[in-house]
Amino acid sequence: MSAMTAHERVKAARAPDRPRVRAYIADLFDDFFETHGDRLAGDDAALLCGVATFEGRPVTVAGNVKGIDLDSNLAVNFGMAGPDGYRKLQRAARQAEKFRRPLVTFIDTPGASPTASAEERGQGEAIARCLFELSGLKTPIIAVLTGEGGSGGALALGLADRVIMLENSVYSVLSPEGFASILWKDASRAEEAAGVMKLTAEDLLAFGMADEIVREPPGGVAANRTALMRALRGVLRRTLDELCALDTQTLLAQRYEKYRKF
């Protein structure tokens, strides 16, 4: 594996030509039907949910939505979901349980939306309730880190039976900019922060917070999307087979233990 620095990984994870969630859905699933809205107040474009089939079996899919340029990013709040998005996820998760579909999430967000309107609608409660729902959800959950995963805003989609990280994805308690800003009162020290935060896929695998790394094709994921998707498809198939073979009690006990050990 090449010796990229943590900061270079962060840059790769955020590259504008990196596949977005709709690309993963198009390449890995069939029959995708997007289900909008939280049934409470609104529909958050920054977090999508829907139902699809993976090699013939129905699954619930959810993921952070990022744009590729300024206009498309403004439309999805740069991938930062608000309470409406997290409550839409809770609704999708409960339906996954009801209809015995595995839940597959795709994580690519700098964090939860830090706006006044998000606070007014209970951003903290919305994320906490995701963790509450997912920790007891009676169906398998697989989380895939495709780009950047920042803070509780990422964890809300990341409490899973298996956490899969693409080689150049990162996962951290806060964005390196936010981390540097809080600890050193200087967001411009983000590169230094990335170096000490231990946020790469290798770090997370060593910690036991990621279960598997999907290697990215040489030459980059944008130019070799087919190869990336083929590799990820194989991992998803094997992981779904493993998890679907477990009885619910074992599945939930293993999930509890997975997080209890930290």
């Binding site: 830090p114 998000a118 609608r121 906490a128 920790s135 007891g136 509780g152 936010g178 946020l199 917070m209």
Partner: protein, 281 residues
Amino acid sequence: MDNIFSAFTNRRRVLDALKNTHRSRVPAEPPCPSCGQSAAITALRLCSKCGHHYAISAALRLDKLLDDGGVALFEDIPSRDPLNFPAYGEKLAAAREKTGLGDAYCVREGAISGRRVIAAALEPEFMMGSMGTAVGEAVTRAIERAGALRLPLIIISASGGARMQEGMFSLMQMAKTSAALRAFSDSGGLFISILTNPTTGGVTASFASLGDVTLAEPGALIGFAGPRVIEQTIGAKLPAGFQSAQFQLAHGFVDAIVPRDQLRSALVRLLKLHPETAAAV
């Protein structure tokens, strides 16, 4: 791993010294930030003129809340430094010296007017009550013990959120505590969450927001993102009272605002409304 910090030997002595200072009525040195008067501060750390809620230590809170103060649990959970973060060890040592605690928590088993409970409080003076592995472990053990003994659980939060120095290990505490609460809730356990100044970040986005009943202290700052981050994001000043306990009540996220000197009686009433189940031991 990283079992680098041994138990703090004179913890009890420091704790006692703190208690004694707080127990006697001492004149407020600087004027009260709410009423401006140099009024005495009560044993519960309230302004005797206007009721302003001063910060209060976790230990003193539980001393006042529980019959005879209860019995301390899980005092020696080691803090960890999984990132070998620069100067974190020194920061922890200084916080221990200042608070007399091993990390930013107190957990006790005790009773409120005779009704047995498990109660935990976060310590705002210990690195802003931030949640790293030790705090997350203490909260999780408190939840699991309440579940095993079928006792009501009370957690008093005061926290700036995740402890940055422990990186992803801090984030995992949100999952760990929330999963423990899910199991506790599924088993029929009663969790009363009490939000005090400040409750923000990863603590708000995990166990603190998962109460069956959620109470807040008057004037407490409660939110996910801190006001400074929001102001930077939206490029404007927030109105006065944004994210206050009163704001959270108005937006539907707390059941009641309860002044500190009425908390014990409020809990007595709530506990009476949730009688012991037959299976209670």
